[in-house]
């Protein structure tokens, strides 16, 4: 059994998404409550600067028009500092906020069941919240090396009663 055994389940459908306020870039914070009112995609990921040139966050970045077409906005969360996030976001040309779950480390991740204390970083976990901030779908990748795509997110958004816009 790998050391990275998943011991705590992530939050699931029907549970209210824990509210949080996290710094995004130097001088700015993002409050989840300001995003409630439209569907929200929450992406918990282990760390900035993944060695792959184009992976999970780059795919989501590419799909922002499709997500917007379904009324949704995306927030990504890791334990990295705002300085790392700023540099990473600029390097990859991201058009969504990277939030810094840094102080105290992993506090928000723990509330969602996504943070692994032993490793000191998040698992790869996805959540789709409806426009009232209730989790309607979540997914935990069985291992950090297994990178989830966006198919589950799109299907979950399309299943929301309030979803509008074209089916991609």
């Amino acid at each position: 059994m790998m050391a990275e055994t998943l011991v705590s389940p992530i939050l699931g459908p029907g549970e209210p998404a824990p509210r949080f306020t996290l710094p995004s870039v130097p001088g700015e914070s993002v409050r989840l409550v300001d995003y409630i009112g439209r569907p929200v995609i929450l992406v918990f990921y282990p760390a900035d600067w993944s060695p792959d040139c184009g992976d999970q966050l780059d795919v989501y970045n590419e799909l922002l028009p499709e997500f917007a077409g379904l009324g949704a906005r995306l927030l990504a969360i890791s334990g990295d500092s705002i300085y790392s996030h700023l540099a990473f976001s600029n390097a990859r040309n991201f058009h969504f906020p990277l939030l810094s779950d840094y102080l105290p480390r992993g506090e928000v991740g723990r509330q969602y069941g996504a943070f692994e204390d032993e490793a000191g970083m998040n698992h790869r976990a996805l959540f789709v919240l409806d426009s009232e901030g209730i989790i309607r779908w979540s997914h935990l990748s069985p291992h950090r090396s297994i990178v989830p795509g966006a198919d589950g997110i799109l299907t979950a958004l399309e299943s929301l009663p309030e979803s509008t816009g074209p089916r991609g």
Partner: protein, 176 residues
């Protein structure tokens, strides 16, 4: 296990027999260095497995990350429309640091396409939707980065190396 949602069809760019026991679908981004590195490996594997293998290429440009990837993908389609898809793919991956428009035109010339038609179609963004459709088909199949491979419709999660890919292909062939 993620599966290929849109099966291979005559609309795809395929190399190898349609009834080959193995089909390898690649979703690639023309500006991605990993894709460029794995390209000759796929060619080597195709050389080894010969008629047992059909190779299919679909576009997965991450345009926000790779500013030339979208146009390069459309250029491939334009070349493909004239039957020069694989020649163009080989040329572009040979030096995928150079994918600006002038480089694409030079490669198209080397691939011996009709330049007037090629340029007209590229400028007219004739293949923009086709490329996006490929990309979305990859998204729906669970592609989370490039390159992404599907062997007989099942996502391959191993290394982008000759031995690992061949092993996975041989394993799949024993299941057919």
């Amino acid at each position: 296990m993620a599966n290929l949602l849109i099966p291979v069809s005559p609309r795809d760019h395929a190399r190898g027999p349609a009834d080959a026991i193995l089909t390898l679908v690649e979703y690639g981004d023309m500006q991605c260095p990993h894709c460029a590195l794995v390209h000759p490996i796929i060619a080597e594997i195709a050389g080894e497995l010969k008629d047992s293998l059909r190779v299919v290429f679909r576009h997965f440009p991450l345009a926000q990350l790779h500013p030339h990837a979208q146009l390069a993908a459309e250029a491939l389609e334009a070349a493909g429309c004239q039957g020069r898809f694989w020649e163009m793919l080989d040329l572009l991956y040979q030096d995928n640091a150079k994918l600006d428009k002038d480089s694409l035109l030079r490669s198209a010339k080397k691939a011996r396409v009709d330049m007037k038609q090629f340029t007209r179609e590229l400028d007219g963004q004739v293949y923009k939707d086709r490329v996006r459709a490929d990309f979305l088909s990859g998204v729906r199949s669970g592609v989370s980065g490039t390159p992404a491979f599907f062997i007989n419709g099942e996502k391959y999660n191993g290394a982008y190396e000759f031995d690992a890919l061949v092993a996975a292909l041989l394993k799949a062939s024993r299941r057919t």
